[in-house]
């Protein structure tokens, strides 16, 4: 009753192949986009930006990246934190090495550097699958974090071993550093998320995305159709690592400003992003966004309810967060492996028939 595609006829294949083939969805998308770009920058506060918006935008990019690799191409990775660290350290080295380079270009370059590292650590995927590949990526995670701790060239030989983002401006507004206005940081990250999400969507609905999914679903059949597994898997690693690298770059430069690698990009980060795509939905761009939003909002909401309203101690709320996330992961893996995105699809199918059951 509320949601249906009846009367929404398509007369060209182009119309049928667009991202939102249903008019209602398309309108909703444009409205959300208009609010995010036209309204939000004027109303965001420091708290909302730092507690919700920036982590959401940045994790969403990482989640899309991991989803391309794990959800679309079927290659499990536990190295997300390590690859985010590569993005962050590449950004730091580029920022300090080339002070005149525009920060947006630096972020993109960091993405490309991470893509290169990702391809390198993706090479084992040509020989091993499943659990064994997960362990190989785990090795990448620990190796990269160790390397950024050990090799002092990466943090410019600073005594603390930390990296700090110097101030860089874009169109006259500081984007990194302490002087950054919340709305600038928000818009900067949002722009990256929008562009990258659109690219991810285009790639996954086209030829290269189908080759990834073919490898995921039945690698032998994919090869016999003409998909080169080497090229397909490594391209997934490259694209995925690019996204994760950009996310790590923004996480360091725009969000945190100062980073200690083991703390910011440890194994917990890998699991956090993996949980986002499991809860959000494997093999879905929308699911990546939903999962990132969920994992970012959950602790905030719990704190709001349990600490601010009920007056319970803070650590209780923090532990409760673990319990809820753990239970949800188990529940989603058992009942709905395709996550929130699939629940949303089912809800839409039901709404189409409502109030009738069939």
């Amino acid at each position: 009753m509320f949601y249906r595609e009846a009367g929404d006829f398509k007369t060209t294949y182009a119309a049928d192949q667009q991202t939102f083939p249903i008019l209602f969805d398309r309108r909703t998308y444009y409205i959300v986009l208009a609010i995010a770009l036209g309204v939000m920058p004027f109303v965001v506060t420091d708290y909302i930006t730092n507690a919700i918006l920036l982590p959401f935008l940045i994790y969403a990019i990482a989640a899309i990246g991991l989803n391309i690799l794990t959800g679309y191409c079927g290659q499990v990775s536990l190295g997300t934190g390590g690859f985010m660290a590569v993005g962050a350290y590449a950004t730091y080295k580029l920022m300090t090495g080339f002070p005149d380079l525009n920060i947006a270009i630096i972020v993109v370059l960091s993405g490309f550097i991470t893509a290169g590292v990702g391809v390198l650590f993706g090479l084992p995927s040509l020989r091993i699958k499943g659990f064994y590949l997960a362990v190989a990526t785990l090795a990448a995670q620990f190796f990269l974090v160790w390397m950024f701790n050990k090799v002092s060239w990466f943090y410019n030989y600073s005594a603390s071993g930390q990296i700090n983002a110097p101030e860089r401006t874009m169109l006259g507004q500081p984007v990194t550093g302490a002087e950054t206005e919340p709305w600038v940081a928000y818009l900067f990250c949002l722009a990256f998320l929008i562009v990258l999400a659109v690219i991810a969507r285009n790639l996954t609905r086209g030829r290269i995305g189908r080759s990834w999914m073919a490898i995921r679903d039945m690698d032998i059949a994919a090869e016999i159709i003409g998909v080169n597994p080497l090229w397909s898997k490594l391209s997934a690693f490259a694209v995925s690592s690019f996204f994760v690298g950009v996310s790590g770059s923004l996480f360091f430069a725009v969000y945190l400003g100062a980073v200690e690698v083991g703390e910011a990009f440890g194994i917990q980060k890998s699991f956090l992003v993996l949980f986002m795509i499991i809860i959000g939905g494997l093999g879905s761009i929308f699911g990546s966004l939903a999962g990132a939003a969920f994992m970012v909002l959950l602790p905030v909401v719990l704190k709001l309810v349990m600490v601010d309203s009920l007056g319970w101690p803070t650590d209780l709320a923090a532990h409760f967060n673990f319990i809820v996330v753990g239970a949800l992961i188990v529940a989603f893996l058992i009942f709905e492996p395709h996550g929130l995105a699939q629940l949303w699809r089912i809800a839409k199918e039901k709404l189409r028939l409502w109030p009738f059951p069939h």
Partner: protein
């Protein structure tokens, strides 16, 4: 029929069969100590429907796997389109124009019927990475052109209604049909079908036989198929290779093969007296 001319022959029902397209010469394939295929030679002619039959474990599927490059035989040569083929990966062989279906359905379960068949067009598409990122220019144009071709196949196989259904949800018979569609999408010169009718009821077998004959007739595709239903094999194929224990025990038209004592022995057993 072994005296047929190298340029081809005419079938009893009047179809013109061309020259040799694919020839395997003295193929021997071993897995460790097990000899799966021993010294097998036969040819497949252009426009032909060529059946490979034999009891279970005779090496029929291994033979198809050799032809499409999944197994590399220890001895012997594969000739395709008049040239000896080097050992190459299956995805390179796909580009040469050999497509296949599998005995156990090997569809991409998470994708829709349409996407499965579109994936079959993989070798026909070559838009650059950046064009695909932006969905502009060549990538967009290519998606539409290939969609048109895929829609022709969907019409041909009469699966319009399940275009957007994830193939995991489809019944067995339809999955087999989608798999045929995916192989056809590559516009193969040679189509290998591994038991296209296994597990089907009579109506589904009739449908599938009709599709195979129509593919051969309308697209001019050469077909090599493995099948256990003798009625179907004798009815639709032009020539039959019979295998048993990895050896070739018979080769010729259905009538010749049916009358061959070695074939009868293999299928019915030999009286030991």
């Amino acid at each position: 029929m072994n005296d047929m001319s190298p340029d081809g022959y005419t079938t009893p029902d009047g179809r013109q069969i061309g020259g040799v397209m694919m020839e395997v010469k003295n193929i021997t394939l071993r897995f460790g100590g097990v000899v799966a295929i021993k010294d097998i030679s036969f040819d497949i002619r252009e426009g032909e429907i060529r059946a490979i039959i034999g009891p279970n474990g005779a090496g029929k599927s291994s033979m198809l796997n050799v032809i499409n490059g999944f197994y590399h035989p220890q001895e012997g040569e594969v000739w395709f389109n008049g040239a000896k083929r080097k050992a190459m990966k299956p995805h390179a062989i796909a580009k040469q124009g050999i497509a296949r279906t599998f005995q156990n359905i090997a569809l991409f379960k998470g994708m829709s019927t349409l996407d499965n068949i579109m994936t079959g067009r993989f070798t026909k598409m070559n838009a650059g990475f950046w064009s695909q990122c932006l969905w502009k220019g060549k990538a967009e144009q290519e998606e539409i052109e290939n969609r048109e071709y895929v829609e022709k196949i969907i019409d041909f196989l009469e699966i319009q209604a399940i275009r957007k259904t994830p193939v995991g949800r489809l019944p067995y018979g339809l999955q087999k049909r989608v798999e045929l569609g995916r192989a056809l999408a590559a516009e193969p010169k040679l189509l290998l079908l591994d038991e296209p009718m296994a597990g089907m009821n009579v109506e589904e077998k009739e449908d599938m036989s009709r599709f195979i004959l129509d593919v051969n007739d309308e697209f001019g595709t050469t077909i090599a198929l493995i099948e256990h239903d003798m009625g179907v094999v004798m009815d639709i194929s032009d020539r039959v290779v019979v295998m048993d224990y990895g050896r070739k025990i018979g080769d010729g038209t259905p009538d010749v093969v049916r009358a061959d004592p070695a074939v009868i022995d293999a299928y019915l057993g030999v009286a030991h007296d």
